[in-house]
Symmetry: C2
Subunit: 556 residues, 2 copies
């Protein structure tokens, strides 16, 4: 079987100006970055503001398992399928982070015959957006430490600096560090740590900003830490928002590339899906909606995290109307939710599959609760048996739920035509309208409880003393009307990653809150969240190479 990069390197890409021309972009509405990448002007959303938006389709999934679901692959495949049946579809995706590429993943841009290209560039530096975010984040850090070093006029408590440095790297040794050692010429010593760039609040801000003015005002609102009197200090107190905006001016422009079948794809922004909202930028989705009759986009992790935040955070801020949802599941992953071990997945096991359907069922209920129509996509793997696929199809029929088998990894768009037709039908027969599961006016505690109960199926929530104290503090600061950004394990509906399937009767423990005031949400942590990954025993980087004639090896 060919690897993703082998398939990618055999593909015939259109020059990016062709892709841009096919989207009716005029010359001043886009800029080339090499021959196969481009950036689209932010001005386009203004120019086309009266043009009706295309229909937005969100791709989400059951709770992820080590077996893999292929959500990005289905997203790309569905976009290609829509184009194959004569629809004008544009795909909107997150851009990958370099750190995991060097670590475990080796690449992340769909797969097989449903991937975005040039995958070598997209997986490495791409158009530099993540580097710009790293620079802006760390310019702010340097300005904070310089402020303290220069006399600390703002009275910042060095023990209460919330703003961390970032690096787009999996670098465990930077998780907990001490900076400013070595005497007065080397700053003021304090504890610090690096997170990976995609966990920077600036990444979340870039993805939620509706234009450059909004970007700047969000940056200005970032809370960098607290004074000795525990009063919040913001970027605007430091007067740093202008420089940060300047550093981000090009990163704010969405990137245009194409899929292996030359379907246009806008790849822009990729915030963490736990301490942030895990969706590509609002600007990317809205730009895609102006350029296509259909937009296929995805959200991070399973529907309990990704779709919930997509609706409550991204869609609310961006005023995005979602026409339909695809819930991706695989036979393998469902069997794992039914309790089967990873090394047993190749064997047919209808009992495990039946038990695992409960996980899918819960996510269906969640999308129902949001009042948006959906289709279940079974993303085919070579090990799936006919019995297993029939079982899921029959089960869905019993539930009066549309289901489509997709084979987009191996067959590209033609493996997603059934899904494309069913999803179009859903959008056309649509009577429903989006309904949030909590109101912004609810108290912070009430918002968390509603998410936990309605989306996770929890009995209740339990607040740590620290969290209770923080809620009071946040309410005092006037931060009570913001949406919630839950940071919970992606592997379970509960806060215990081992509890697969559909756990019941559980309580979600709220350990800590963080105020992402620039992004505009309150992060709620239910456990330890790792915001700086480490490298594995054998990093993917060890296999990477580039030949004398420029051919890339070791991305997959």
């Amino acid at each position: 079987m060919k690897t993703d990069i082998e398939i990618a390197q055999e593909a015939k890409l259109e020059p990016i100006h062709k892709i841009a021309e096919n989207l009716n972009l005029s010359k001043d509405e886009w800029e080339p970055y090499g021959h196969t990448k481009a950036k689209i002007s932010n001005h386009l959303l203004h120019t086309l503001k009266d043009k009706p938006d295309g229909k937005v389709i969100l791709v989400t999934s059951i709770n992820p398992t080590p077996a893999g679901e292929g959500k990005s692959t289905v997203t790309v495949g569905l976009g290609q399928a829509l184009n194959q049946i004569g629809k004008r579809a544009v795909i909107a995706l997150r851009e990958p982070s370099l750190g995991p590429v060097m670590g475990i993943k080796g690449g992340a841009a769909g797969g097989g015959y449903s991937q975005v290209l040039p995958m070598e560039d997209i997986n490495l530096h791409f158009t530099g957006d993540l580097h710009a975010i790293t620079s802006a984040n760390n310019a702010l850090s340097a300005m904070i430490d310089n402020h303290i070093h220069r006399g600390n006029e703002l009275d910042l408590d060095p023990r209460r600096i919330e703003w961390k440095r970032v690096m787009d790297m999996n670098d465990r040794a930077l998780r907990q560090i001490i900076v400013g050692l070595g005497g007065p010429s080397k700053g003021v010593p304090r504890e610090d740590g690096f997170t990976i760039t995609v966990a920077s609040e600036i990444m979340a801000i870039l993805c939620l900003a509706t234009d450059i003015v909004d970007l700047k005002s969000r940056l200005a609102r970032i809370v960098i830490g607290y004074t000795y009197n525990e009063q919040p200090v913001t970027v605007s107190d430091l007067k740093a928002e202008g420089a940060l905006t300047l550093l981000l001016k090009d990163a704010l422009k969405p990137n245009l590339v194409q899929t292996i079948e030359n379907t246009p794809a806008i790849i822009h922004g990729g915030p963490f899906a736990n301490i942030a909202h895990g969706c590509n930028s609002i600007i990317a989705t809205k730009t895609a909606a102006k350029l296509g009759d259909y937009v296929v986009t995805e959200a991070g992790f399973g529907a309990d995290l990704g779709a919930e935040k997509y609706f409550h955070i991204k869609s609310r801020v961006g005023n995005i109307d979602t026409a339909a949802v695809v819930i991706v599941a695989t036979v393998r992953a469902l069997k794992m939710h039914g309790g089967l071990a990873k090394d047993k997945l190749a064997e047919e096991n209808l009992e495990a599959l039946k038990a695992g359907m409960k996980n899918l069922k819960k996510h269906m209920e969640t999308i129902e609760a949001f009042d948006v129509p959906f289709v279940v996509a079974i993303n085919k793997f070579p090990t799936d048996t006919e019995n297993e696929v029939h079982f899921i199809e029959n089960w869905c029929e019993e539930q009066h739920v549309e289901v489509a088998l997709t084979d987009v990894w191996a067959s590209g768009g033609s493996g997603g035509i059934q899904l494309a037709n069913k999803i179009i039908a859903k959008t056309e027969s649509r009577k429903k309208s989006f309904k949030p599961l909590y109101e912004l006016e609810d108290s912070i505690e009430e918002k968390i409880r509603k998410i936990a109960q309605t989306v996770y199926g929890a009995k209740d929530i339990e607040l740590s003393k620290h969290a209770s104290k923080q809620i009071k503090l946040f309410e005092k600061q006037g931060w009570n009307n913001l949406p919630i950004c839950m940071a919970k394990t992606q592997y379970s509906l509960s806060d215990d990653p081992a509890r697969v399937g559909r756990p019941e009767g559980f309580t979600i423990t709220i350990r800590e809150l963080r105020a992402s005031i620039g992004a505009g949400f309150i992060v709620v942590l239910t456990g330890d969240v790792l915001t700086m990954p480490g490298l594995p025993e054998k990093p993917a980087a060890l296999n990477m190479d580039v030949t004398a004639d420029g051919k890339v090896k070791g991305l997959f």
Copy 2:
């Protein structure tokens, strides 16, 4: 008076495809990065290998002073002047580092009517080269710490890791840090520190690599640290050179932009001028030489550091034949070398000027010693008096030295025509040929002594005990046949920055050596070298902004 950015924003740029077409670049020999930047294929040097090279002109200067010399401005102005008189000139320059831009400088791409454009991009992320170097450098750091964390098979001594992390930022608090705190999941604690990206050995390597194969073998040779038995450990021991090369594959391509007068400029690489050799990449200079009949390039700091390393390191590795040298001086800077204080420079002072000529004289002797013809350029400032300028002109005439007054900041290329004509005459009447001042086969100590005596005018050198010990160690490793990269204050010919003019009878104290085996030179430190700058009291970043319609403010 208009600022650099105001002048830049009024300029009319040609689309970059025009600049590329004027250089006879075919479509597959370059890639656009936006409408005004491009990258040139590394393959071009191979395609044009039989085409004779254009004449290379090096711009250097007297020892820098706080008064400013305008070396980059003269470089750009001379290139423009050559084009104005009908010659086909291409400029080759270093790319600026973002850190100092955010700190003090606010911008570094020439000035006035002799600057390279788009200055907003060149001064910020440009085409991402520095970000790629940062990524490669820090990927290596992560792999080193991961190696130790995973059992340390190579027996690396955590106290003897030479490889530091980097950031393209002025961030004093990162100079001295402790990483790996927090227990077994967070790596192995050790002392570390960040340098600024341009001080990374990878930057030096990128600038000395002749192609991607050479790049990879240089990366493989980097010494990252020593074992507990004090044996060197290299990148190839870690098997990281493939991944690092991959991360640098686009950064290795030189960047094409234009000056304010649409003269083509190749801006590529910018290593530190103390712990590295301070010149733009060999690939940039050689590419420029293939595309132009004249190449105007510069080296960092004054001739004692910049030109010396340009000749002994860059030209030797790249086999670059330099046709002539420009030594830039200003009335103001010469007066400072004559002992005048900075706040007195606006007043005419012929005595100070006369005293300061000694500094110029020494650099003239140095270029003579290299056996390359030169012209002195007096870069005009508004405060210069006629008497002062005449004094220098007469002085040069007495020395039988060609001198040209340039006014390129205010007048662009037309302010450099006299210089252009004189430098062409020098290259055409050239009988001399380059002569190195030391042989690679000389001992390390002898090489240092020859530089100190011939270039700085020192009486002798004095080695610290530590340095003597290191020399023995390096010789044992077989590192004795590498060129020397001196790290000395740029402000004085001696190792004491306060000794302006032409100090005599001094000794150069050699404190420490560093082995940059990948770059291929031995760094010799004569004092403390700051490789991570800090931000000033009021960072330039505080004045930066970008308006709603994308206009940039605060770069200058």
